[in-house]
Symmetry: C2
Subunit: 383 residues, 2 copies
């Protein structure tokens, strides 16, 4: 690890196109980012039957509430799942408060609940505990994990398996997006989610298109080598993308990166904005686009240094640093009956890719080893 760190700080790390073979000195994190299209394809192919079985159990039990539990990156996948499951099924979805289970233990009324525990290692003791207690309280329990024989998988009724292959970088990438894909598969298998199902096989192509941002991002990060802090903004389905990008920047680049939903941002934190403050804004097309544009105008007036990740000309033209995605469309361009387009529901998966690239290339530009953040280990044992 030490050798790799010296290596990466000595030699300039050139951006490569997605299909250039990686050398042995490529950081695990960068290699794992590139593995995402294949990992997603595997995850979706392997879990269709399990997702159908969970959906049948949800119907049989008359589930009235869904609870998602995860820590760190897994909590961000849970946040994406909260928006997607709630939007498509109409069932209220809560993010769990694990310490209520592990520290304050009390009976929960979960007979009509689906409780989903997320942990790439399947070993987070608090998430295992949430699943074990919820199952004992009568909930239908599901594990989402990258280890099939893990304590988490053993504690749950059903397991959605990431099948992402070993993740060697401490900073999670492919286990994040495979988890998001599995939550999308589950949502698409429940009543209300049907229209999403035929589009899921096109997720790997979306991820490949997003990998094309690599060269732009690798060139852009140099501007931010000495940035000590930044703000990361996203709204709706992309709030999870903002949170996950901020965490990647914190753990690999030691940047104090504060994520906000752009709505919450206006309720106070906006006061932080001053000339030169780096702000990363996820600005996809769709329902949140007018809000993104208005916010971008406000930020520019105050001289913020705005990195915009988007597809449309308007927000990108206003950026200090523009990261343009060119994603294949999944839906027809016209809205059918005011329905939210599936593009918007699935966009958080390709949109996190430039965020991941930003973190890995900024770490390299700072001479840091993105695979081995100080003070962290791959499996975190919190109770």
């Amino acid at each position: 690890m030490q050798a790799m760190k010296s290596e990466s700080s000595r030699t300039p790390h050139l951006p490569r196109t997605p299909h250039t073979p990686h050398t042995p000195h490529t950081p695990h994190m960068l290699r794992e980012i590139h593995e995402q299209p294949d990992a997603l394809q595997r995850a979706l192919e392997m879990n269709g039957v399990v997702a159908q079985r969970i959906a049948a159990a949800v119907a049989r039990r008359g589930v009235q509430v869904i609870v998602l539990a995860g820590r760190g990156t897994s909590d961000h996948a849970a946040l994406y799942g909260q928006y997607l499951l709630q939007h498509l099924t109409g069932i209220p979805v809560a993010l769990a408060t694990p310490s209520l289970y592990t520290l304050f233990g009390a009976p929960f009324q979960l007979q009509r609940a689906l409780v989903i525990g997320i942990s790439q290692s399947g070993e987070s003791p608090d998430i295992v505990e949430v699943i074990a207690q919820s199952r004992a309280a009568g909930a239908l329990t599901v594990a989402v994990t990258n280890r099939q024989d893990s304590p988490l998988a053993n504690a749950a009724d059903e397991t959605l398996f990431c099948a992402a292959g070993a993740e060697l970088s401490v900073a999670a990438t492919k286990t994040y997006t495979t988890t998001c894909a599995l939550l999308a598969l589950l949502a698409a298998s429940l009543p209300g989610g049907e229209r999403l199902l035929p589009h899921l096989p096109r997720l790997p192509a979306l991820m490949r298109a997003a990998l094309a941002t690599e060269e732009t991002v690798a060139g852009a990060v140099v501007r931010y080598v000495h940035a000590r802090d930044c703000i990361v903004l996203g709204r709706g389905f992309q709030y999870s993308t903002a949170r996950e990008t901020a965490l990647k920047l914190a753990e690999t680049c030691y940047v104090i990166a504060m994520p906000f939903s752009s709505a919450d941002f206006r309720h106070g934190p906006a006061a932080l904005v001053e000339r030169g403050l780096p702000v990363i804004l996820f600005a996809p097309p769709g329902r949140t686009a007018p809000d993104s544009l208005a916010l971008l105008g406000w930020l520019r007036e105050r001289g913020a240094d705005c990195t915009v990740i988007g597809e449309e000309r308007h927000p990108l033209e206003q950026a200090t640093t523009a990261i343009a995605l060119d994603l294949p469309r999944l839906s027809e361009d016209t809205e059918r009956g005011g329905e939210v387009q599936v593009d918007e529901l699935l966009a958080p998966l390709p949109y996190i890719v430039p965020g991941q690239f930003f973190a890995v290339y900024l770490a390299l530009a700072k001479g840091l080893n993105p695979d081995q953040p100080r003070g962290l280990t791959k499996v975190t044992h919190t109770r």
Copy 2:
């Protein structure tokens, strides 16, 4: 406002004891912090009947899930409510995702839900929309607001009224703690919450005891005048306190303040810690105390500059800056049947007080006007 700003940056602002009368130049925020004991007493006295009526409706409808919606400070009160309601009643509690209502509109299955909308002004359009849509979908709806004739109150079935008096500072203080107290009153009125009810009248005394930290905090902040960023940590019931303190620091002092539950902190953000990094840790007695002590040891090893807010000798002795609270005990010292003590459930109300003082005195020490953060207005219109 400009006059006040010059005033506060010209003359040193001396700490005063809680009972010193405030001059006309006292910032509204400081005056409003001191109004909290009386405001809480009014709020609790005025809302007992409404809380009982809501509890009866919850029983009648067989509520299976509770949803809380708020933005900014109101979202932090919601977070406290999430922990407290879930812990005492066992009913799963979700924080709402307002943009799903306002931007992505879809039918929600809320016939067995209690939906609580929180807005001090009662005017946040997205929170009003959450309540209106939820009520149309068959939910039992409750407004928590400081304006009885507001759009939010009019949209909801029932209103819990803060009765905090006009809040003139943009940075909310007394509307935060009165909202927390009203959520505690509601929790205490529901099955499972009974043991909390007799202790609520003692909340004003708890708040008065917390006001005694003023002089310590006013003296301590000078060390942090040039701190650009910091981390704020709390766990369990105090996670809301950490988030609310971070927001106060961001909006009044322009400090990039990142809040984490100390469990999530270990899953990535811990990599940020380096020598001299300011960390504010809420370390109350009780179930989270061992975790706080372990974390504090870890932070000290890495040279972090730790402000500890607590009552017990062990964590306070390890602080760079110790802020000791001397709170009257509510429960007997022994645990009865392993039950979590009411002290721990109510502690977030007095513990936020030194956080509020920290923000107002640090703003004054920096020559800022805490009542009027740049770029903000008292009512935020987000959709």
